[in-house]
Subunit: 623 residues, 2 copies
Amino acid sequence: MTHTVTVSFVSAEGGKPRRARVPHGATVLQAALDAGVEIAATCGRRGRCRSCRVKAISGTIAPPAVQDSVQLGHEAVHERFRLACQMPAIADCTIMPAPPAGEAGHQILAGAAGVDVASLKLDSGIEKRALRATVPQDEHNQSSDLEEVLRGLPRGTDRTVSVDVLRQLPKALRAEGGLLTATTFLGRVIHLEAGDTADHAYGMAFDVGTTSVVGALMDLRTGETLASVSAVNAQAVFGGDLMSRIAYAQFNDAKLQTLRGRILNQLNEFIEKSCSDAGVSAEHIYKIVVVGNTCMHHICLGIDTSYVGLAPYAPAVRYAIVVPAGDLPLKRAPNAQVCFLPIVAGFVGADTIAGVIATRIYESEGIRLLIDIGTNGEVVMGSRDKLLACSAPAGPTFEGGQVKHGMRGAAGAIERVTIGDDVACQVIGDAPAVGICGSGLIDAAAQMLEVGILEDNGRLRRNGLEQLPERIRRRFVTDGDGRAFALVAAADSGKNEDIVLTQNDIRQLQLAKAAIYGGVMMLQKIMDVPDARIEEVLLSGGFGNYVNIDSAIRIRLLPKLPRERITYVGNAALLGAQLALLSETERRRAEDIVRRIEHVSLATRVEFQDIFVDACNLAAPAR
Amino acid sequence: MTHTVTVSFVSAEGGKPRRARVPHGATVLQAALDAGVEIAATCGRRGRCRSCRVKAISGTIAPPAVQDSVQLGHEAVHERFRLACQMPAIADCTIMPAPPAGEAGHQILAGAAGVDVASLKLDSGIEKRALRATVPQDEHNQSSDLEEVLRGLPRGTDRTVSVDVLRQLPKALRAEGGLLTATTFLGRVIHLEAGDTADHAYGMAFDVGTTSVVGALMDLRTGETLASVSAVNAQAVFGGDLMSRIAYAQFNDAKLQTLRGRILNQLNEFIEKSCSDAGVSAEHIYKIVVVGNTCMHHICLGIDTSYVGLAPYAPAVRYAIVVPAGDLPLKRAPNAQVCFLPIVAGFVGADTIAGVIATRIYESEGIRLLIDIGTNGEVVMGSRDKLLACSAPAGPTFEGGQVKHGMRGAAGAIERVTIGDDVACQVIGDAPAVGICGSGLIDAAAQMLEVGILEDNGRLRRNGLEQLPERIRRRFVTDGDGRAFALVAAADSGKNEDIVLTQNDIRQLQLAKAAIYGGVMMLQKIMDVPDARIEEVLLSGGFGNYVNIDSAIRIRLLPKLPRERITYVGNAALLGAQLALLSETERRRAEDIVRRIEHVSLATRVEFQDIFVDACNLAAPAR
């Protein structure tokens, strides 16, 4: 995209706004320079200080970078504070430069609320120390290489080391005459090498989703994200959704190993690619945090997933796990300790916990709702007092599955629909429409409901069609799949046929959205929380980025809240993994949260049947 | 050998001895039956009780079996107490049946000394427990397979388990409806399997020597040795002695990996063979104890041995090490934890520590001396107050190396020599002599010294030959290697040439024995211990079994002590490994001993030069 956006700067002291027009994606800091607004950038635009702190007053802004969370804390980020140097301008917006917070410590003042909250401490657990050890010279001296190295490390350093470290010892000690660098994780030596490499300590955070896999290479010493990489999960050839992946490998160890090999291979490639992009050595990756749903977690570890796919969907293990990379194996990062965040239940996995960490709803005073809309979505609701979680399996509909002309959000997909006198479709890539993606489907349904093409119960209107505009009326068609509504006529499509929504497509959408909204309603019921008491809805996951929130509210995919109380928080699972990577405090917090969070199994709740039926409706029943 | 031996039984109450003639190797218990002497065998001849306890009053007896040590304790074994059911009759001997000690506990009364000593506790650290765990059935219940299993184990069981155990979980829990067996090592789960297999817990002890490798499969629950296996170290093709092994792999990782592969392969074969012999599953081997010199220790672990071969011969690590079998890897015993005993110095390794454990000189009131005569021998001297150790590298002479007609103790080797009016040689296998082995060499030198063929300084006599018997005189020959003494004439040999000892052969013998005796003298000097204060000399290692002790004293390979104060203790290194296998108390003791023992580096002691020169003499210089 090469279009431009306008960034307006206002001052807390009032006065005329200053404006700059910058290319889409340029940083707000650049826009400030262009507009002649002075914003300090003490760290050289690296996201390592808070001097360029700004607050977005209006307009759509990008999800926070991890540096925003690291430097400003989550509460401030929720209040739309950002680092100008890290913030891309993605739409017209109004920005207020904020007085920089004190540089000392990590305490920040969280915007309007005025609450002091602790921000992230960089305590990854990884310590690198260059030291000059004595190379044994004296036969009288009863010593060993390891003892000489330990002498240079803090008292209390664990003297038991892995075989791998023992194998590194003789060379590391002697190659540079005793100058070597020891890396410890939580007080245990995990790597030794000759010379002083103490400046190089990296880590990777992975979110292994059923559909896509995302990784971020980070500098453990500064918190900087050095490279990011993402791709479709390489297991996708064995089934698009979780259950087909489980079915593929069920009671078949060879197939489980195939799935495991695929994903480990992919993670290895990600490590290689991001290290190459950032120009760092993968030997200096010492910590890896992996989050993912229970199935992906088990597959990465090589644990049979057969029972995760059968009621009661029990995981083999829920505790946090730390394994040396060599035990998975992740051969590209041979010196890393791989940390898997803990799990709540078979369908509420480590990715959900990571999302809770990232959004900090565990410390929220009011009730917040975290919704990951996806094939295997999850809903978490609560506050610092109580947290509930349930799985909300929407199925593949939002990814275009089980929809006649459904497709992913790629070129040719209808992504926005407006219906007035006629239907107007916005298509990805300015191409002729060949299908409709999840966000288009939601938009279409909302608009069709609005103008009366759909009834509240999801039926395509049969009666009173004559009340609809002529051009709309003509779009009711009947094809081999029964009644349908044509969004794009054959003549205008890229497929030489009408792009339609069938009655069945609408039913699929209703089932998918009811899975999510039914979960929300169920948690609301258990906690006795009416909509009005929900302070904020946090949408996470890839799909949340594209969905038209007004449309989602219109069709009751999301609860009916004022628009400003619904926030898209980006890939919260990855963000949580990044936080756990940079901070052992956060990683330990995950274990506390797993103990606190209560899993609600929807399928076994008698009352859920009625709730689900209700949630299928596109409009709330009259009370 | 099919000859017979006579076992005489005497009673503490006096009376006429009873005798039985039994095949060599028959048990003393069998001999007692044959002789009509009643000895109870409560446990059915399995070495699991003390009812058949006897004391050897006179005659040569075999080294103790591990059951002797387990049941009777080391002190009693030193006092020549044995279990009749485990004791092979290997020579004519006189045996006194002893009153059985109380069966309760492991306290025993140690023979004449009347001292109560604690005997071995069976505390291998391995615990197997069959339990009925709940297979998760209830979706409401937030649980996991691991949590259900841990619920059936003692509080305090470590909840962090290896990836391997996680992989065993789902099947182990469900294959028999929740009935499973969990194995812990020191409170951490190391193996899970379906069903009740709690009766099967085995371990292996390995002594990995430069020349030979010995293994014993043991039942961890009873202390029984179920199978034994030994062979020449499979690395031998890359050099017979330690230094040539080190030189082969020096600064060459591929060659180090070759050596490592050879020995691990051999250990895997040993595991397979002994499990097959004993009819047990290698999956049920949970603990393996490995002892060996520092070089073998490092090679097994894949640690570069380059620096172990260069002054100051520093090991990479001296601490005790525990690694999962998969990390070495020892694939045949996938569920085992492999324990390497600790090391004192580059040439005083875990095998020496095992010998100290086995002989318990660390708790001796008087000064004892433990000598491992071998290519890389070691000497340990001390008592409960102080322990000194040095390496005593005799070189290959005792194995026939660097000796003109030298050979190992195989068929055709002269093993005993008697010289009176003429020379009489005893040859292994009743074959014509083709060479001379180490024990024959020592015997020959002692006899040649006795009758005046050799001078005290090791020179073949030149003057006064006419005083020697005619047949002896004729044996002085001169060949391409200078003067020599023919032990076997060409006509009687299997080689069509004289089997001789050259002047150089004698010099090599002097250097070899001086390495050991010089070490002994050095430790005596440091501790200020004259011969008279040495209560006992304990000979260990394969060679010690064959050496004629009188001859060894005669040529000053051993200090001049009354014959009964010199005891052959068998393969003390393996015995120590077996004790550490059966008892964590003993394994921990090894670490205490390493901290207490003082390493004496002979090469860097100025005074050692004079001592070595003195030690080269075959007779003590006149004072």
